[in-house]
């Protein structure tokens, strides 16, 4: 379970997170929605330690995320980045097996390659992709490789940062389905940030809306359309009129 208590983060005078309180129950898929620049990515980065919060607490299974063994903490996480963030200099299979080729989870090279190919197969890629380089793949294939890398070490918690951005609707649907299936199979806790309402409905058990540096609303995805919150209603309908200022 991930618990955020009064999480705060500012960049200069700009307060991005102004006291975020959020609980992601174990084994559930939480999707955070919110406008561009609302601090969704910063929230993920704070949990992972890529940004240092100015205040508040981050608890993972009751333990403070900012204390203790950092490597052991990160070993529990997998992350799919918005642009996949594959390492250009490594072939696909070494990207997928990155964690299995070094550090505490190191395996023999042949075994790591076998696991990588199995994970590639799980995300719908054939074994001949394994020896290609990321630059040789399409955007959708790169996202799949990123997903394979995120799940390669069987993490307990997986973060997805805008998983369908830049993909056509069919490929976006494929990625959404994969995320749903894989997190359910692994029993992993998932935290996704997205603008894409199709993804929200496909991936989420729970939804939270971040606006003005705080969580405006949170609840089960089934209650999203009847949230009664004007911010949520404006966001899910994509209306240009409402409490969220839309610049023209």
């Amino acid at each position: 379970m991930i618990q955020l208590e009064n999480l705060q983060k500012s960049f200069g005078p700009h307060k991005v997170l102004a006291g975020v309180d959020l609980t992601v129950p174990q084994g559930r898929s939480m999707v955070i929605i919110g406008g561009s620049g609302s601090g969704k990515s910063v929230l993920l980065k704070c949990i992972l330690g890529l940004e240092t919060p100015d205040g508040g607490r981050i608890l993972v299974d009751g333990q403070d995320a900012t204390k203790g063994d950092r490597d052991a903490f990160l070993a529990r996480f997998g992350m799919l980045f918005q642009g996949a963030a594959l390492f250009d200099s490594l072939p696909v299979w070494q990207n997928v097996a990155f964690r299995l080729l070094r550090g505490a989870l190191k395996r023999p090279k042949a075994e790591a390659r076998e696991i990588a190919i199995e994970k590639l197969r799980r995300v719908g890629l054939s074994p001949d992709v394994a020896d290609k380089f990321p630059a040789e793949l399409s955007g959708g294939m790169q996202k799949r490789v990123g997903l394979a890398r995120a799940i390669a070490a069987e993490p307990q918690i997986i973060f997805f940062d805008e998983p369908t951005t830049g993909l056509d609707p069919i490929m976006a649907g494929v990625i959404d389905d994969l995320i749903r299936e894989i997190t359910a199979e692994m029993g992993a806790t998932a935290l996704t940030i997205t603008h894409d309402m199709g993804s929200v409905r496909a991936i989420a058990d729970e939804v939270a809306m971040l606006h003005g540096g705080k969580i405006r609303w949170t609840g089960p995805v089934a209650e999203l359309d009847a949230s009664g919150d004007p911010y949520v209603e404006q966001f899910i309908t994509g209306s240009s009129t409402g409490p969220i200022a839309a610049l023209r």
Binding site: L48, L50, L74, F81, D88, F98, R99, R102
Partner: protein
């Protein structure tokens, strides 16, 4: 009137801001260098990345280093011959070429070539990794970017640049020898003997020590600029430019200091 009075104050404030900015940068680079040594001495160590860096910095720099040294040695021989002939001192060409190449031109030119070729390449690569979130991805995969990206590159620079400097010295002398023998009418055996007899161990040691220093500076500044890159293509461009500028200035400054240390009378 008030504007005229505040002009010197604004100029002073600008100067103060620039000095503070420079001091802050020196502090950040120093902390970055200390962090390199701390990570160098603690496991894990990424051997594959180190070997790849050895190849990129050393092997792939050979052509540019060799050509630069050869033509500089040749030009130096022509200059010394032409200049020396004004006071009947043409015979010192072998000695001055050797001294000039080994003490100064070899290390400095190799250092600047490495700054142009390697520092820029390291800065652009790491900056692009930062912009495309690959550095963040490394962290989430329990891999410290300092250990994975900086330590292998800087360690490779420390080892391979002095070797390149030594090779550059030899090739530069060979350039002078070729011009001396083919164009200026020197006897090959006499040229080699004069070169060999004139050089002292301290000349070679100073050259190699400069190589170590320049290897450290050029690779460290590439990594530093890459890691501190701003966003987008402009950030990558700025990081690349500033890495070469700062590495070049630091190499020339370090060269002056080391020359003073080794040869001050």
């Amino acid at each position: 009137m008030r504007d005229a009075a505040s002009l010197p104050l604004r100029a002073l404030a600008g100067l103060g801001g620039a000095v503070l900015g420079l001091l802050a940068m020196i502090g950040r680079v120093t902390l970055f260098a200390l962090s390199f040594f701390r990570h160098l001495l603690t496991p894990p160590f990424y051997g594959r990345e180190f070997v790849v860096s050895l190849g990129n910095i050393g092997w792939l720099s050979l052509p540019v280093v060799g050509m630069t040294a050869f033509f500089t040695g040749g030009a130096l021989a022509l200059q010394i011959y032409a200049g020396g002939s004004r006071f009947d001192a043409q015979a010192v060409v072998p000695q001055i070429v050797a001294l000039g190449m080994v003490r100064e031109l070899g290390p400095v030119l190799v250092g600047l070539m490495i700054a142009a070729r390697v520092t820029s390449s390291i800065a652009a690569e790491i900056a692009t990794m930062k912009v495309t979130e690959q550095i963040d991805a490394l962290v989430t995969l329990s891999t410290h970017p300092m250990k994975y990206l900086t330590v292998p590159r800087v360690l490779a620079g420390l080892i391979v640049v002095p070797l390149l400097v030594g090779l550059g010295d030899v090739i530069g002398i060979l350039g002078g020898f070729t011009v001396g023998v083919k164009s200026l009418g020197f006897n090959p055996a006499v040229y080699i003997r004069n070169t060999w007899d004139f050089l002292e161990p301290l000349d070679v040691i100073s050259s190699l020590v400069k190589g170590v220093a320049f290897g450290f500076i050029s690779t460290l500044m590439g990594c530093y600029a890459g890691m501190r890159s701003g966003r987008g293509a402009q950030g990558v461009g700025e990081a690349t430019k500033s890495s070469v500028e700062s590495a070049s200035v630091l190499i020339l400054t370090a060269n002056f200091i080391l020359t003073g240390v080794f040869f001050s009378v």
